[in-house]
Symmetry: D2
Subunit: 495 residues, 4 copies
């Protein structure tokens, strides 16, 4: 069961980082990953090279759990790549932690991948038919196999040839002994930016990682572009033909950190504009506006400003909610326990509240929040969503529930309103979203809202089969005691 | 070195919780402590009784690290108390983790304490002269000794007699086999509230702990009041004569959670009013208002509303900053690394910024923030502090730097402005603070701002001596590997 | 339930170590404790002083788990004491880990104790009546209280006065800022030796700890003697009147390491002589002699030599059996599973076997071994025990089962033979034991065999009550996950 | 640096186990691995199948650290395989922990391997040329690749075809969803036995694993034989042509557990006979015989019996020496510190000692022991080695130092005697060894003594290159704090 299907909404599936030309490459990668932590909390890893030796540190958990600053600082090398991973639970194992490191005919190759291949299942079958073995369940291993098979003419050529066979979304960062290579898929679905820190060059999923290390953002890597960082500086080539750009709009809405810039636009600023537009398109007779911390604060503030209503802190989040804190079971939850979020009665009582959220995926959280506000005395609760109805699963690297669990997949807005028990409900239209983001509609991937997938999703069923079917892997070292109560990796055999 | 003297401002020194009459007393205590986690992250513990057996779980770290929900849920008992602790580093050891549990002539006694005794040093000397031994460095052990020595006539009488000898600030929660007792010092300096959950009664440092478990707040425990929760329900008595109330005003300004209510007033609402008053008293020619996340968000929002300026998210905090993440060393920090807080260039660039913070203690953070904003392109930075200059150390349980490190102890506002490199700087006046909080000046402890200490601080020197001098304790179990690199507990011998 | 009552025979209850005058006092203490590890595996700790600061490291587990050589080596100081602990399960908590460190009127005092007080319960009651509080369940805390109450005239006088009130068995090592003090009870029940390493003086429960650090043994500390190690060298005094010596004979039989010398006699050599005497007194018509590894190897070799029979390795012990390996449940065990000990069929098949063991306590192990040998084809199994029937509980620091569980308490030798299913069974007589050890009968404690207790056991019942009754303590930090499944410390309240 | 090159003598390189047809397959595998623990302490793992799902548990450390009995017992399945691993330090990483589990065209395949391929390097190059990627440094991955490439005609055929390309020593156990397969190399160098437990069939490196679970040994698997355990029972075939048997003689001398039987001969009994023969061929004028615990006890006892000299426990081993205890540095060691082994002065003083050891590899331990005995007062020390001079590195799965570090590689017996400072030194001759073992010389691998390698060692250099050169792998999850101080996996790049 993926986290998304546990009802917590879509989540991103990784962050990548790379640096070439700095004597403390490993340490800066550690800082960069720390800044990208929101993109994946299940595993973290980095690979560093000093031109002779390649060293790996990776493990399950947060960057600060897996990597020790002292250890990292002692890893010698002027080039490094890193990865933070968000995954579905079934394959949340150490074997799947990235970067993936393999030895092939040309030496060592490390790969860090954000995204999802849509033809991975068929490629894998083809490779197995040709005698390949798989030790992980990540798409990245398919890419490594393809590169090894095309490896005769050198790494760069092999990457290009391999990626020509691959379909889907990817922001990839590679490392061998003496270079770092970044590539973005032909639609530029997942983000990847290029930055500079003195004489060193940096790649990262988001620009907030540049800020973390004091680097300057230079530009986004272009769709289909390959950027090679080595002794010669930066080299670039259009590795793959790009017919159109289709940047994931959900990065603006939810995934990216507010202090990151995508295609030069600040994420917080976009979110605030979305809130303003939402207020214009869907005003509400209300007394106060509140947002859901932390992701909807920007949009809520924009709504309040535009509506001329006071923006209030009506919901307070416990800052210590984390992975090890276990929420009480259903029965308990019903009885008014408010551990993760608390509603501020003094603010809410007797008021008509506009509750702004970034998106509704399964609707369970929205209903919970509406009830929480009513228990705290809200006279009315008007829900305003700063994006269109999320009605279609993502196959490009964002972990979403099954189609049938998406509340907007089969329900009208009025149905959803009833289900979440709101006094009124409104979404931003796709048009309003596109206009507000300010990019041409053709330059965005809007599939989750419109169902128009820029890349054909051949393995949509296969993706499920991937998890249920022929899935290898390796159980990580069982953390003392905590252990694999669930029994470690399970390999279920074909049906 | 205390955390405060590392430059992070004053921090509270504990949260307490108690419950009587619920079949899941231990689990609800776990939830309550989780809600009070902001009051102390160094150790956590709970003690539960089923009327026959008393069980203890405590350890170093966060509630979710120390206590496992599964284990806690299996602890039988209908009464329990709990504690989260913030301490100075020197005595951050397992031996000092609370609740303190002792056996004395009447059986088992568990004590959880928020506050600081001002005559602990002399009491301790007196007890040692009488042959007592000490195994911890916490004031709480002094209280336990006094109770044991007065114990002949039963626990309640002994507590009263013991507390008559004690001076200082305390919110205490006791547990023996079949009752929970709460007491607040005669000035009511540290907070303690009474709540109700069905047939069960609850005590907590803050009302947010009531919300966490679905309990209803009933009222604050009064200065000098003793509340006994047992089979008979709630009994109360004025255990100690109270000449005046002197509730800590810093709870409103910084310490308490925004969703808590103190003396019926919501903390967030008070902070917002402080921001509004600040805007009226100290307006600034500026374009935007930003707050320091998370503690100054309420005040900044109030300032913005009152000033009619847009409130912007100009600073973004990395949500994964925690205890194990090691910040880079000084040299590195200077070079623009922004790991914990990042400034939003798109928001700030070219703007005149009002930066609202809740308080300035040592001034180092303020200077860092001003520089961060200027690096991000701020044209001007006007710092507005939603409290008066913090010029006097607290001896009542808030960990503050030494007097000489307090930036306001010996400097004019203009001096401080220069030091933090702001374009302008203003503080709220004591009068404005008192008026805005809306309580009589005589009912508040304003010592940190005014130097008027409600309780004589006899051991002010002794308090230091306590830490530097003859301090026993016990090193906790060294967590495998992480270990006591620093060498565990150090007992420095008299000077 | 104590380990003894789980059927594994008596076990010792601690080892102590002290050193004065070596610049690496902490590291040598670490080595010394490692050599004494067989005396206690449940907790370990050391306290070191450099004359100004006293530092503590202790925790649950083996010396090598609790103490890191790197950390220990960095602890500055020229004097140190240490402790390894074996305890009953009920009070195997971090709070009880030793050395106990307290602050009293004269400063810091650390105490490490091997033994058991027989009037602890009454002393404790008396102290509680006088207003004392207890935070552990160890006798050592009683001693610390008494010293503090007598402390006016200095430590040495206070120790003497305190020990005059105490009855029972103890080898104690104390440390304050600038001296180490060793004391042995007036009967010298538990062992304590003095050694020398260059200019440094050393105290240890057994001489094997001297060998471990390259020190020379000097002599045993005498019954009732106090040895003070400080800047002046060694000072000694007869602190307590000693009417007779009563050294624990079970140290020779089982507890001490074979390479230790007690009263100048090597333990292995004594055990071998016991085996020889056993062969003379109780010969058997047999083909081979085998011992139970590891404790009975010496006696078995002596038996074989004297009997002129081949000594064979008929039982092989899995060297990796440890605390974390869980033996299979009863049903499984019956079916021939041999995880801890395996019988060597090729050696045993068709043979008449003499099985030599050091002692029989509950008889369950003996029966298991006899069955194991028969399964491996033994034609006959003649059990020979190198000590008399163990018929009386020890109250002087050796963890034994309750009287009623001691197989020899109420059964004839023939009854026991039938119970353990041996073809023949013989024990060494008390006389043979005494003669073989070669010390005057009056100089030994033979209570476990004879029931003649040198020190009156006033709290024999109290000892039980101590555990079942009013027992405080403190649960240690729950090791992540492994955790207190059992619920940590339990304080059961009076019956 | 391998452990062998740290001077501790040769060590085996793994133990394997497999079972089919028992409802508690995982638990019995756990017990079996525990019995084989002496063959490898660096990692442990098991794979279990219920016919539908294949589950894996593996990790770094001892069986009891890695596997929890509770977890293991809950793993459903009637077939399982397991592995304990001893490896060189350079590749002691989680990625190399076995069983290796891969997915290939036919489904899941798990492999556990004891031994060493002598043409792995060339096979690997060939596979890389063909586009394969490697994620570990173990030979086992080469085998898995070959099987996958031959996999079209089913697993059994693929294994046979793959092993035809492979040279070297191997005892392999495979598992897929519904069968367990064991294969032994054509020379039968590494041991593998077949056993039976009721209706279940078992495979294990040594018969002591059968005893552990109550199984009966049936017979050794023959050189080149493949044994298939599945629903049909046991099927066998001569998978690979075997020209001669060449069973590792060092298993008898040192590697195997004394309670195991190899080719029907008990290991302890063989060792005792080796000691007897040694006494006949190389008598010594001496007073006592002592062995080095634990490995040389059998031979020493044989020597003593034959020589008519008393066998004495002259050396005592600290039973708690383990992986985490750090021995003191060289300087310290010189000064008479005796932490791991202690000499029994009372036994040794004034005596002429025969010290029997199983083998001499680097000579450093022997010199240390001779010195230890002299310090303890030995008048003379006569060293007798129960095997011939160890003069040639093993390429078949036993970790030995480099040729140049083998003391016997280039020195005469007299040179060695001088180096180890013995009064006399003698080895068993190869002839005496062969005669005593009682197998035809042609049926044994004696390469370490004679230099006659049954299998050509093509990659002898390659083996080194393997470690220094193109070695991929994956750093395991860094155990919190303990951590990869050494920097985790290092991939050194070609020379």
């Amino acid at each position: 069961m993926s986290r998304a299907s546990r009802g917590e909404g879509p989540r991103d599936a990784c962050g990548v980082f790379g640096i070439y030309g700095h004597p403390e490459a490993a340490r800066l990668t550690y800082y960069g990953l720390f800044a990208l932590q929101h993109r994946g909390q299940e595993s973290a890893g980095l690979v560093v090279s000093d031109g002779c030796s390649v060293r790996v540190e990776k493990g399950m958990g947060l960057v600060s759990d897996v990597l020790e600053e002292g250890t990292v600082s002692r890893l010698p090398g002027h080039l490094a790549i890193g990865h933070v991973r968000y995954s579905t639970a079934g394959s949340s194992t150490l074997a799947n932690a990235q970067p993936l490191v393999v030895r092939y005919r040309k030496g060592v190759l490390a790969v860090a991948h954000n995204g999802n291949l849509t033809n991975a299942h068929r490629l894998r079958e083809r490779l197995e038919e040709a005698g390949s073995i798989f030790q992980t369940t990540v798409d990245t291993e398919v890419i490594a196999h393809l590169i090894a098979r095309h490896g005769k003419n050198g790494l760069e050529a092999a990457i290009v040839e391999a990626l020509r066979e691959v379909e889907g979304a990817y922001a990839l960062v590679f490392l061998d002994e003496d270079r770092v290579i970044g590539v973005r898929d032909p639609f530029g679905i997942r983000p990847l930016s290029l930055g500079r820190l003195g004489g060193a060059w940096v790649l990262a999923s988001e620009t907030c990682a540049f800020d973390a290390i004091g680097a300057e953002p230079v530009r986004d890597v272009e769709p289909g572009e390959m950027v090679v960082l080595d002794q010669a500086g930066v080299r670039t080539r259009q590795a793959l033909e790009s017919r159109r750009r289709a940047a994931c709009v959900f990065e603006y809405i939810y995934l990216a950190r507010p202090d990151s810039n995508l295609q030069g636009m600040n994420v917080h600023a976009v979110r605030k504009q979305l809130g303003r537009r939402l207020a214009r398109d869907h005003p509400a007779e209300a007394d106060i506006v509140i947002g859901v911390p932390d992701s909807s604060i920007s949009a809520a503030a924009g709504y309040a400003e535009e509506a001329g209503l006071p923006y209030e802190m009506g919901l307070v989040k416990n800052r210590y909610v984390g992975r090890t804190f276990i929420m009480p079971a259903q029965g308990q939850r019903a009885s008014g326990v408010r551990l993760k979020l608390n509603a501020l009665r003094k603010v809410i009582e007797g008021r008509r509240v506009v509750l702004v959220d970034d998106s509704i995926v399964r609707g369970t959280t929205a209903r919970y929040l509406v009830r929480l506000l009513r228990e705290a005395g809200a006279r009315q609760v008007h829900v305003r969503i700063a994006s269109p109805p999320y009605a279609n699963a993502c196959f490009y690297g964002v972990d979403t529930p099954d189609h049938k669990e998406l509340v907007a997949a089969s329900r009208s807005v009025e149905d959803i309103r009833r289900q979440i028990e709101a006094d009124s409900l409104a979404f931003l239209s796709v048009e309003a979203l596109v206009e507000t983001v300010g990019l041409p509609r053709g330059g965005l991937c809007l599939a989750c809202f419109t169902g128009e997938y820029p890349v054909a999703v051949q393995d949509a069923v296969g993706k499920d089969g991937w998890e249920r079917g022929p899935v290898p892997g390796t159980a990580g070292q069982v953390p003392a005691g905590r252990a694999a109560a669930a029994g470690g990796t399970v390999y279920r055999v074909g049906d």
